[in-house]
């Protein structure tokens, strides 16, 4: 409405100028008594014209004011809608975040379920195994152990030499070992005194077990001279002279 006020002031000024002029001319014409009606009427007409224009402009200003007011109302409505949309956006984002977390955790749970299912072993088997490894003092020291006791948490030199590997290298050092190890195994004539202590000779449990197949990717040399087995059998022979037991 400031615009209307401004216009009003302007036209008041114009009108006042015109009115002053009119009054001056009227005053002059009274003094002079000359027919200057033309000028007066001209000025009057001009005044009327100006007034008409002014009225029109006032109407226009009022209309514009109304439109402006409507625009403001609409702007407020738009702002409100914007806020609503932003609110919805926030809520959606939150929901998405929560869902994503839930999905992620569910996936993790599924993974661990799968893992647990894969590694499922009967408790009986575990107990049996635990009993086996504890009874032989393999993982827990015997209660009477003192420094100086030759028993160890790993296979000792003696045990290693008495095992299959050692015996394959030393065929002549032991009465039983006049045969091929395969024979000794088949005949079941492993030294009794060693059998209970050296657990890898319990053939009953391992007879059905086979190692995984492997290609010759250890970079083995051609058949007849198996380097890898040379290592196996040679190692024990630090003090023996039977180094010719490797394949030929």
């Amino acid at each position: 409405m400031a615009v209307v006020d401004l216009l009003t002031t302007y036209f008041i000024c114009c009108r006042s100028v015109l009115v002053r002029e009119l009054i001056e001319i009227l005053a002059i014409s009274r003094n002079q008594k000359l027919p200057q009606a033309g000028e007066e009427s001209q000025i009057l007409e001009l005044l009327i014209q100006r007034d008409g224009e002014f009225q029109e402009l006032m109407k226009l200003a009022v209309d514009q004011g109304k439109i402006h007011h409507e625009m403001q109302l609409l702007e407020k409505v738009v702002e409100k809608r914007d806020n609503d949309i932003q609110q919805l956006q926030k809520q959606l984002k939150e929901a998405e975040h929560i869902l994503a977390t839930a999905v992620y955790q569910a996936k993790e749970k599924l993974k661990s379920i799968e893992k647990a299912r894969k590694g499922a072993i009967s408790s009986e088997e575990i107990i049996k195994y635990a009993h086996r490894i504890s009874a032989s003092n393999a993982v827990c020291a015997p209660l009477t152990w003192v420094p100086g006791d030759p028993r160890r948490p790993y296979p000792t030199d003696l045990e290693m030499r008495s095992g299959l590997l050692g015996q394959m290298n030393n065929p002549s050092t032991n009465g039983v070992n006049g045969h091929l190890p395969g024979d000794a195994l088949a005949a079941g004539r492993l030294p009794d005194v060693l059998a209970p202590q050296y657990p890898w000779q319990s053939s009953d449990m391992s007879m059905n077990m086979l190692p995984p197949n492997h290609s010759n990717d250890f970079m083995l040399e051609p058949p007849g001279h198996n380097k890898e087995n040379e290592d196996d059998v040679e190692v024990m022979s630090t003090d023996s002279s039977s180094s010719s037991s490797d394949s030929d």
């Binding site: 590694g119 072993i121 088997e125 195994y129 086996r132 490894i133 032989s136 393999a138 993982v139 827990c140 020291a141 015997p142 209660l143 152990w145 160890r152 948490p153 790993y154 296979p155 000792t156 030199d157 290693m160 095992g163 299959l164 590997l165 394959m168 091929l180 190890p181 395969g182 195994l185 657990p199 890898w200 000779q201 053939s203 449990m205 391992s206 007879m207 077990m209 086979l210 190692p211 995984p212 492997h214 990717d217 250890f218 970079m219 083995l220 058949p223 007849g224 198996n226 380097k227 890898e228 087995n229 290592d231 196996d232 190692v235 037991s245 394949s247 030929d248």
Partner: protein
């Protein structure tokens, strides 16, 4: 004897199983590892590949045959070149040996402590009754 021929038949496979079972458990012996290191076996690529192949003993269906399951830990460590290099030192092997024995005695020490605590408690009870 040609061990290579053993690879081809079933008896051979069974024997190979036994041999590998023995060998992998020997790896639990740090002195043996030191022995192997000093003789340069760990520098042989074929041997290193063999150690990698032996990792199948970690599967439960194979691991249940191990009397010394701690050998699996040594096997895992042996996959690293740094460890293989370190094993050339006798002090390294000695340190591992000592730690293994100490760990081995863990449960018996714990049991002894429990028994001592129990004995002390009983003494206290007897003393208070009197």
């Amino acid at each position: 004897m040609s061990l290579y021929l053993l690879w081809r038949d079933d008896t051979g496979n069974r024997l190979r199983f036994q041999l590998e079972l023995e060998f992998v458990q020997c790896l639990a012996n740090p002195n043996y590892l030191n022995f192997l290191a000093q003789r340069g076996y760990f520098k042989d690529k074929a041997f290193v590949n063999y150690l990698k192949y032996l990792l199948y003993w970690k599967e439960p269906e194979y691991a249940k045959y191990l009397k010394y399951p701690q050998c699996l830990h040594m096997l895992e460590l042996l996959q690293y070149e740094h460890f293989r290099k370190e094993l050339v030192n006798a002090q390294c092997a000695k340190f591992i040996d000592e730690q293994q024995i100490l760990h081995w005695q863990h449960y018996s020490r714990k049991r002894m402590r429990l028994q001592q605590a129990l004995a002390e408690q009983q003494q206290q009870n007897n003393a208070s009754v009197k």
